[in-house]
């Protein structure tokens, strides 16, 4: 295994391990809401904190590893820095886990000031461990983003080259000059790096402020300011997990379809849009804070709408066009990637509905919110990652999974997933609040059939894991990726 491949698999396997653990945590929460088991609310909210922060980091780690590997083939990067970013994040995750087990920290991943400090049912050290853990994760993320930014700047000739400026505005001259055009995945890398640094600047600031407040409680913090920065970081970081993982589709789906996915001027412009709107859409988290400057509420709705255009018009449309009447081989890898595009789009529709202010008044902080983000994280990002893993395993083993296996995995992950997601959508539309250890009616009944979906989903994921292990053991071909 080459050094860069080892890095990718370290990120991927750690991410998948955390993902598996957090899936079980999520399941434990769901069956508590379904009233199949009973435990105290303090434990529920501690698990909720762990599930939220852990899942995002798990998906981010997978995306980071794969994207690093893809960009490393474009221009080799320093491996020590990648390992450092990995180590910082893993130490941060350990600190976060310790804050929950045994610390029982339960202020949710949002750590909305002043919740971590007032009415705490956990010891002060747990708050500190959580905040420091999150700061370490942010630091690791910063290192990663800076390196990714350096990579695209070096390879494509500064910001002008990396953004495809000349490709768009001096197209003929650019083609004639024979300079390398950034492949689609390089745009994902550039946007991840730039928006990632933008978001982490806000996250680091509020993180440091909270750590200082933890040390010296007399240091005041503006709650509205803290809320803005928390969501700037949290929303953007979560969003970027999609944009990192979409690079997998750019690279692997064309191989399955025996076609090419070129960088066109339209694709470059679409990613400029993503750069701008991913960074400004977070304002929709503060729609129900009426003291927020009014202009920002308009920015929130407009940016949320516009953020949907690049994926809908270019990436998902492009993916469908790539598959249309191609001689695509349907394997686990291609199935996951294509299904991920579908999940992303459907989750996006749910998000757009909620991003409309008057509708948000009756959906904000209801179960509609976990409904839509689980749609594009679980049936989008996770599938891109699984697709990428299977693409690698399939090419290296020369094997594909049987039709029966694919059907069973499909029923588990798509069928079970749909049941699980529908539970949230239906309950959200019925005004059941999110983040309730004990839900008002009709919450528990809906949670019960959603939990059945969750069992099916876990069955599909376990089958998937078993199949991955089978393929991984049968490595008989040279790596093609």
């Amino acid at each position: 295994m080459t050094g860069s491949r080892r890095i990718m698999w370290a990120f991927l396997s750690t991410g998948i391990a955390i993902f598996g653990l957090m899936t079980l945590v999520g399941f434990a929460m769901r069956i508590e809401q379904a009233q199949w088991v009973a435990y105290d609310p303090g434990a529920f909210y501690a698990l909720m904190t762990l599930h939220g922060s852990g899942m995002i980091v798990a998906l981010a780690l997978c995306g980071m590893g794969g994207l690093w590997f893809i960009m490393d083939r474009e221009r080799p990067m320093n491996q020590g820095l990648a390992w450092s970013a990995y180590a910082l994040i893993v130490i941060g995750v350990v600190a976060v886990i310790l804050s929950v087990f045994p610390g029982r920290f339960g202020a949710a991943w949002t750590f909305l000031f002043p919740l971590p400090f007032i009415g705490a049912t956990w010891p002060s050290w747990a708050t500190g461990a959580f905040l420091i853990g999150v700061a370490l994760i942010m630091l690791g993320w910063t290192v990663y983003c800076v390196q990714l930014l350096g990579c695209v700047l070096m390879k494509y000739g500064g910001l002008r080259g990396a953004t495809g400026w000349d490709l768009v505005f001096h197209h003929d001259a650019f083609v004639a000059s024979g300079r390398p055009e950034p492949p689609p995945a390089a745009f994902a890398a550039l946007i991840t790096a730039v928006d990632g640094l933008f978001a982490v600047a806000g996250g680091m600031l509020v993180g440091v402020a909270l750590i200082i407040h933890w040390i010296d409680p007399t240091v005041a913090i503006d709650p509205l300011w803290a809320k803005n920065l928390t969501y700037l970081f949290g929303h953007t970081f979560a969003n970027l997990t999609i944009y990192m993982a979409i690079a997998f589709v750019y690279v692997a789906l064309p191989r399955y379809a025996n076609r090419e996915w070129h960088t066109s001027p339209v694709l470059a412009i679409a990613w400029w849009g993503t750069l701008l709107f991913v960074a400004t859409a977070y304002f929709h988290h503060l729609y129900m804070d009426f003291v927020q400057p009014r202009g920002l509420q308009y920015v929130g709705e407009v940016a949320s709408y516009l953020a949907a255009f690049p994926p809908a018009v270019v990436t998902i449309f492009g993916g469908a066009l790539l598959v249309y009447r191609s001689n695509l081989r349907w394997t686990m890898g291609s199935m996951f990637m294509y299904a991920g595009l579908v999940g992303w789009l459907i989750g996006g529709v749910g998000a757009l509905i909620d991003a409309t202010v008057p509708i948000n008044s009756s959906l904000h902080n209801t179960l509609w919110v976990p409904a839509h983000f689980h749609t594009y994280l679980l049936e989008g990002v996770t599938l891109f990652i699984l697709g990428w893993i299977f693409a690698d395993l399939e090419t290296r083993s020369g094997l594909v999974s049987s039709l029966l296996t694919r059907w069973m995995v499909g029923i588990g992950i798509f069928g079970g997933g749909a049941l699980l997601l529908l539970g949230w959508y239906v309950a959200g539309a019925a005004s059941v609040p999110r983040r309730y250890a004990m839900q008002p009616s009709p919450g528990p009944a809906i949670s019960a059939w959603a939990s059945v979906g969750a069992i099916l989903l876990i069955f599909g994921l376990v089958l998937c894991l078993a199949e991955a292990v089978r393929l991984a053991r049968a490595r008989n071909a040279e790596p093609v990726v």
Binding site: D40, L81, T121, V143, V146, L153, G158, A201, D222
Partner: protein, 238 residues
């Protein structure tokens, strides 16, 4: 002399003069908001100097410089702690030294970024500068008190009237398992300074009719008099 050198010298000199302001004017207690913004100006000058200082054209990574570029903004945010401000505010020379540290951190952030890979310095410098400006609007700064409309003022507080000593005994028997012996919290929320959240009447009403997961202990085993005593004890917790 090249333009680049001129920019370095002018911005460094300006930063130095600005850093010395506390010694020159002897200004004190300028407020956290203004103080953060002053530091943002210093860091802007430092970042400009740092960017202009680098004139190479690296085409390969210099990994150690990445650490400098990433850690300097982080350290700067820690040093911008408002509780440190109140310390240095009292000593002009320390304050000026503190300013010079900020300038150096900004120079390092920008220069190290450029040394790592040319162009990255702009990103790290922008990060630092935006954090410094945004800090002025909430880091150590908050709207002073809750400003309620006039109708809020009519809320009358009821003062405790119950047997605190008896309440202490009842609390130890019935409440301490979840709320801690001295109300420090545990399974249930801490009750220290509960008086700021509920007055005596509200505390009694809550104990009589609590929301799950807290169990209702009224009318059995606690009588109305017992509830008043426990409430009086809880209100006394600091």
């Amino acid at each position: 002399m090249t333009l680049r050198k001129l920019i370095v010298i002018v911005s460094a000199l300006a930063a130095l003069v600005f850093s010395a302001m506390p010694v020159i004017t002897g200004a004190r207690d300028i407020g956290v908001h203004q103080h953060h913004l002053d530091h943002a100006v210093l860091m802007l000058l430092g970042a400009i100097a740092g960017l202009a200082l680098y004139s190479g054209s690296s085409d390969r990574e210099s990994p150690p410089w990445l650490w400098v570029a990433v850690l300097c903004p982080f350290i700067a945010m820690l040093l911008m702690s408002p509780s440190l401000y109140s310390l240095v505010d009292q000593t002009p020379w320390l304050h000026s030294f503190d300013h010079i540290v900020f300038v150096v951190l900004a120079v390092m952030t920008a220069y190290a970024g450029q040394r790592y890979v040319r162009g990255v310095g702009w990103a790290t410098a922008l990060m630092l500068e935006s954090m410094a400006i945004v800090a002025a609007f909430g880091y150590g700064v908050a709207p002073a008190v809750t400003v309620l409309s006039p109708s809020a003022a009519v809320t009358q507080r009821t003062e405790p009237s119950g047997d605190v000593a008896h309440g202490r005994v009842l609390f130890a028997q019935n409440c301490a398992v979840c709320h801690g012996a001295r109300g420090e919290g545990g399974e249930g929320p801490p009750l220290k300074n509960e008086v700021s959240r509920k007055d005596f009447a509200q505390a009694q009403a809550w104990i009589k009719k609590p929301a799950p997961p807290m169990p209702a202990l009224y009318p059995n085993p606690l009588s109305a008099k017992d509830v008043a005593d426990v409430a009086a004890f809880v209100e006394s917790l600091k």
